[in-house]
């Protein structure tokens, strides 16, 4: 059993395959989503602090820095949704007898459909 060769592990293993990079981008969405959710808590806090405090906070949020931050947050959140719905047919296959529900259809039924409904509903409520 002498002398097996063990390859050293690269610290930056996640750059070794394009699939690893895509994986890491998907995982990193959670950092941005978490960051946004903290900001959302601040927004809820200001809402509880009265009209003046809330208006002041909204005016701060309309600045370029916060706008940019929210653009980044939106991209991360949407990317989370897209990658999550892509994984759903793999993780939760639906069988109709011998046939598996085709992945694109399953993603629409269990992902994109409910997603668009929820998003449209929330946006409609605020804008109406």
């Amino acid at each position: 059993m002498s002398g097996q060769f063990h390859r050293p592990h690269a610290w930056a293993w996640f750059l070794e395959r394009p699939g690893y990079v895509r994986f890491m981008v998907r995982e990193l969405t959670s950092f941005f989503v978490a960051g946004y959710l903290i900001v959302l808590l601040v927004t809820l806090g200001r809402l509880g602090g009265g009209e003046a405090a809330f208006a002041e906070w909204l005016s701060a949020l309309s600045g370029p820095g916060w706008m940019l931050a929210h653009v980044v947050a939106l991209i991360a959140a949407v990317w989370h949704s897209i990658t999550w719905f892509a994984a759903v047919p793999q993780a939760m296959p639906v069988y109709l007898g011998e046939k598996k529900l085709p992945a694109p259809l399953a993603a629409v039924v269990m992902g994109y459909g409910p997603w668009l409904t929820v998003t449209a509903g929330i946006v409609w409520w605020v804008l109406r």
Binding site: W13, F14, E16, F23, E27, P93, G97
Partner: protein
């Protein structure tokens, strides 16, 4: 006759009795558009360097012995053609995430232990009782696991999995997919035994669904999907404990 076309294979060499470190050796091989990488390796061994060591058997993508890294991708060398790389050189290395025994040959020991651990065979309480005849199975029941039964143990998925490379406790894509394959088999009664192995430590939970196992699988097994489904079964079993006391018929 026209001049014979050739191309270069850069082959990973490591002989433990003489080499402290692996090295790469370049070989000029005849270029034939019908040749796969394995043909070129066999040509080198037959005509240039008999000391080159590699595994192969069926040459038709069934035995799962000839998996190697081809230009950094885990591939069955019997299934990748020279013409897909010509005229650029091809770099051939042993599968990553396994200890190298010699040249292109990796150690199978760790993989075999993991495979055995998930009990990849049908387990029944009434195994010696054949009075009831065959165990019948409907096409719909077969469909539940058929895809996961196509595994040929070629280990390409382990070479594609960063978790398999970093976490020793992780059972890895093929073994977990096979465990799930038997758990989903309507004739099987061994799920609890297998889950006792799969749900321990990082055995299955090390998986972060990178998904590259499914990308490289030559048999379209989708180990990544099987592992997530097996995790979901594990989660159900976890919460069942609070609903039904141990021993209750749930």
């Amino acid at each position: 006759m026209s001049t014979e076309l050739t191309m270069t294979l850069e082959v990973f060499r490591y002989h433990p009795e003489t080499d402290h470190e692996p090295r790469f050796q370049a070989y000029e091989v005849p270029y034939d558009e019908d040749w796969v990488v394995l043909d070129a390796l066999n040509w080198i061994k037959d005509h240039v360097d008999g000391s080159l060591t590699h595994r192969w058997s069926c040459r038709m993508g069934v035995c799962g012995s000839c998996g190697m890294m081809v230009n950094g991708d885990p591939k069955l060398t019997c299934a990748v053609f020279l013409k897909d790389y010509y005229p650029r050189p091809i770099k051939v290395e042993p599968l990553v995430n396994f200890p190298v025994e010699r040249d292109l040959v990796v150690s199978l020991d760790g993989f075999m232990d993991k495979l055995e651990a998930v009990k990849p065979y049908i387990i029944r309480d009434d195994v010696n009782d054949t009075s009831g005849g065959e165990y019948l199975q409907s096409p719909a029941e077969l469909a539940q696991y058929k895809q996961y039964s196509m595994c040929i143990n070629c280990m390409l998925c382990y070479a594609a999995c960063p978790v398999a490379g970093h976490e020793d406790e992780f059972l890895g894509p093929a073994a977990l997919a096979l465990g799930h394959r038997y758990n989903k088999d309507s004739r099987d009664q061994g799920q609890a035994e297998r889950l006792d192995v799969m749900l321990v430590g990082e055995a299955i939970w090390g998986c972060t669904f990178v998904g590259e196992c499914t990308v490289v699988c030559p048999k379209h097994v989708d180990p990544a999907g099987a592992i997530q489904q097996a995790k979901a079964v594990g989660a159900q079993e976890f919460f069942k404990r609070f609903v039904a006391p141990k021993g209750a018929g749930v």
